[in-house]
């Protein structure tokens, strides 16, 4: 097998990554994110229909015709103790909020559209809803991020060296930033499952990077005094097959999900698919080359 040059052209790849990171940052700052209703809050409509076979997709059909971002609304059936069997209630949540007169207008349109289908309908309540997931991630603040970074840095410094700890953190930040940037650029909804994908990416990125570092550490002991650039490049070649095979297998699972899975899962599968690609790329082209200059034999 031919030796591949990962390190030689490192400046090009670092430049590509910097450009991607810059685009991501700009998009995040200007365009922002399409947050899910669990983060932003918005409105919640409780709709009551006098029918025992009116389904969520029937409701979806009706609300698609309404203004605002009703097309992205989440619809779930709810039921209270003591509700008669021929009554169905649906909770419709969406990120828009409305003034009172618009609320009334929507209410009327909704009731009218359903009664045109021959089913009696009534909007029971039209609430402003808080973003509950925002509260859940509220504690994951800068303090948590700093502690996470410090903990990883300390561990990698202990087992490897400070430089590698820094490299792992840079690769991690690189992966998260670019994946977030792609969420912003594509307009995929950033919902709770998407955040789960981002968190999974943290694990994936670290794991991938450490395996590469481990090989470098081993070779540094074996071939003391060898030119660092060559040594790192050889280490990358040695683990390349593993990196590619692992990435392909993980990608197979998440990409199938992206192709076939339903709408709420799409952002999740998107985050995972992008994450695997970015994570693999960074473990080869970024994690080691970016700290190459400071790597020393101990």
């Amino acid at each position: 097998m031919k030796m591949m040059e990962f390190v030689k052209h490192r400046r090009i790849f670092i430049a590509i990554s910097l450009a991607l990171a810059a685009v991501s940052l700009i998009s995040m700052l200007t365009k922002g994110f399409n947050f899910g209703v669990e983060f932003t809050g918005g409105s919640e409509i409780i709709l009551r229909v006098e029918s025992d076979h009116f389904t969520e997709s029937d409701v979806r059909q009706v609300v698609d015709l309404l203004p605002g971002d009703f097309a992205m609304a989440r619809i779930t059936q709810v039921r209270s103790v003591g509700d008669p069997a021929n009554i169905r209630k649906f909770s419709i949540t969406l990120t828009s909020t409305f003034e009172t007169d618009i609320k009334n207008e929507i209410k009327q349109k909704l009731e009218q559209a359903i009664s045109d289908m021959g089913v009696k309908a009534q909007v029971v309540s039209f609430n402003e809803a808080g973003g509950y997931a925002a509260e859940e991630v509220r504690r994951l603040t800068w303090r948590a991020i700093v502690i996470a970074i410090a903990a990883i840095l300390i561990y990698v410094t202990m087992r490897f060296s400070f430089v590698f700890g820094l490299g792992a953190i840079i690769a991690l930040a690189h992966d998260v930033l670019i994946t977030l940037g792609l969420f912003s650029l594509t307009g995929y909804e950033l919902n709770v499952p998407a955040v789960a994908a981002l968190l999974t990416l943290i694990g994936y990125s670290l794991n991938d990077t450490i395996v590469v570092y481990d090989r470098i550490r081993e070779n540094m002991k074996k071939f003391r005094g060898k030119d660092i650039k060559r040594l790192v490049n050889e280490s990358l070649n040695q683990v390349f097959k593993r990196t590619i095979n692992t990435s392909i297998t993980t990608f197979l699972v998440v990409f199938t999900l992206l192709l076939f899975a339903g709408n709420v899962i799409k952002p999740f599968a998107f985050g995972m698919s992008v994450g695997v690609i970015v994570g693999t790329y960074s473990s080869i082209y970024i994690a080691s080359p970016v700290v190459l200059r400071w790597v020393r034999y101990r």
Binding site: E135, I147, G203, V211, E234, I248, T249, T250, V264
Partner: protein, 474 residues
């Protein structure tokens, strides 16, 4: 080999326990048909729906910051559900026409009464002053009712409902000397160790925000231990009131300067536990009024879950095939390791009574990734060792030895990130962190023990790679 025999025993014992836990009979009826073997895996709101309760937050008029009160209610309920292991429950606020509501959705609770129990008390807790007591129901006696008016207090029953206490919120009628919904940092039952005493007492700590006012209250109500039971002392007892029931009434025998107090009363362990739980459960800053109780259907809908499940299975089968095509014997070992780890993980999920949601499934996907990855690392390592001229058996031993350190560092770094998520996250993030940590530990075990066992067992099928295939130039 002796060590392989130990591995075999461990591998069989672990999966046996996992299957016993997974297949243990349960009254839950989540699945039908073949999927019944997963009956003990509880499913989250997004996949299965759950109980739904709606409360109106009864914010007192003239409250300084109503939205803060609602936030505090939210935090208390969130903490209660997290403490009960329902990190997957959703607690959210809604508003309409100047009223605030809290909607709680709890997965895996099919009966609303059970859900209400999980939410716990919806009332306000306060420390009050007992000014009198009666063994006659005060509502039947007009003189007792008048007494309440005179004393500016109200009659409240004890827990058994056979004694009524006349309780006043304002201690000694001093203006603003009252402690409603105190912050309690901790409360625990501990054995009473003083000579001549038996049973249990409850120690608790009032948070620093309320410690000063608690000190003033205890200063006012303090009676020396020798004077307890006297007529004047009977008007100076402290009551802990929750849900309009006197949970405890007793004498204050010393001033509490730092919020650290204890309640003695020769309690049984059960009584002490109960009282500690009441103190600890976190007082709500406002009363909750139940609007409705019922159920919510899954957000994802049955059709979405079904397609996603099939997509996942197809992806998994592709991985299994890919591994066999590229790694032959090691591929078979990896596939078996993957199945082993999946059942192990389901066993742990059943044991820990975790609730599986979409984010949890993300954690499982990462586990599949790390299991496959671990095996690939090991397989590549063994191939390398064989290329260097080692025999198959020696290459397996060396390959596992060298991979151990790699996997150890890679997995531990992931676990560190998981621990930070667990500590700082609430709700969904916490449960994701749990799945992540369990999954990574499981895949490490499977890689090191299960795969090693199979590699040794299948060693005669393993062929040394031709040296042209992947010789690395030195």
């Amino acid at each position: 080999m002796k060590s392989d025999r130990i591995r075999l025993i461990v591998v069989i014992a672990v999966i046996f326990v996992a299957f016993v836990v997974l297949l243990w009979p349960t009254s839950e009826q989540t699945y039908e048909g073949f999927a019944k073997i997963f009956q003990r895996i509880r499913l989250g709101l997004d996949i299965k729906g759950g109980a739904r309760l709606e409360y109106r937050v009864d914010v007192e008029e003239g409250a300084e910051n109503p939205s803060e009160v609602v936030d505090d209610v939210w935090t208390v309920l969130r903490n209660r559900l997290d403490a009960a292991g329902y990190t997957e429950a959703i607690v959210r606020k809604t508003f309409r026409e100047n009223s605030s509501f809290i909607v709680v959705e709890i997965p895996a609770a099919t009966e609303t009464t059970r859900a209400e129990k999980l939410i716990g008390s919806t009332g306000v807790m306060y420390f009050g002053q007992v000014v009198d007591e009666s063994e006659v129901d005060p509502s039947t006696d007009p003189r007792l009712r008048d007494l309440a008016k005179i004393k500016k207090a109200e009659w409240l029953p004890n827990r058994e409902g056979n004694v009524w206490y006349l309780v006043r919120r304002e201690i000694m009628l001093i203006k603003d000397l009252q402690l409603v919904s105190p912050s309690i940092v901790s409360a625990n039952p501990v054995p009473d160790t003083r000579p001549g005493r038996f049973g249990y007492k409850v120690t608790f700590e009032v948070g620093s925000r309320d410690a000063e006012i608690f000190k003033k209250i205890t200063q006012q109500l303090m009676v020396p231990e020798s004077a307890t039971g006297s007529v004047t002392a009977r008007e100076k007892r402290l009551a802990i009131v929750l849900d309009d029931v006197v949970q405890f009434a007793g004498y204050v025998v010393s001033v509490i300067p730092d919020g650290k107090a204890e309640i003695t009363g020769n309690f049984s362990l059960e009584e002490a536990k109960q009282l500690a739980a009441i103190l600890r459960s976190g007082a709500l800053p406002a009363r909750l009024e139940k609007i409705s109780a019922g159920w919510v259907a899954p957000l994802l809908g049955a059709d979405i879950v079904r397609t996603s499940l099939w997509a996942g299975i197809v992806g998994l089968i592709l991985v299994l095939i890919y591994m066999i095509v590229f790694y032959r014997t090691f591929g078979v070992i990896t596939d078996l390791a993957l199945l082993y780890n999946t059942f192990l993980l389901f066993g742990i999920l059943a044991l820990s009574r975790s609730i599986l949601t979409l984010p949890g499934i993300a954690g499982i996907l990462l586990t599949i990734g790390t299991t496959v990855d671990g095996n690939i690392i090991i397989a590549e390592r063994i191939k390398e060792e064989m290329r260097m001229g080692r025999s198959v058996k020696a290459a397996i031993a060396a390959g596992f030895d060298k991979s151990f350190r790699t996997l150890f560092d890679a997995n531990l770094t992931t676990i560190i990130a998981g621990l930070v998520l667990y500590y700082f996250g609430t709700g969904t993030i916490k449960s994701f962190a749990i799945t992540l940590i369990i999954g990574v530990l499981g895949s490490f075990f499977v890689n090191i023990v299960f795969s090693r066992l199979l590699s040794d067992a299948f060693s005669r099928f393993i062929r040394a790679p031709r040296s042209v295939e992947g010789g690395v130039n030195q």
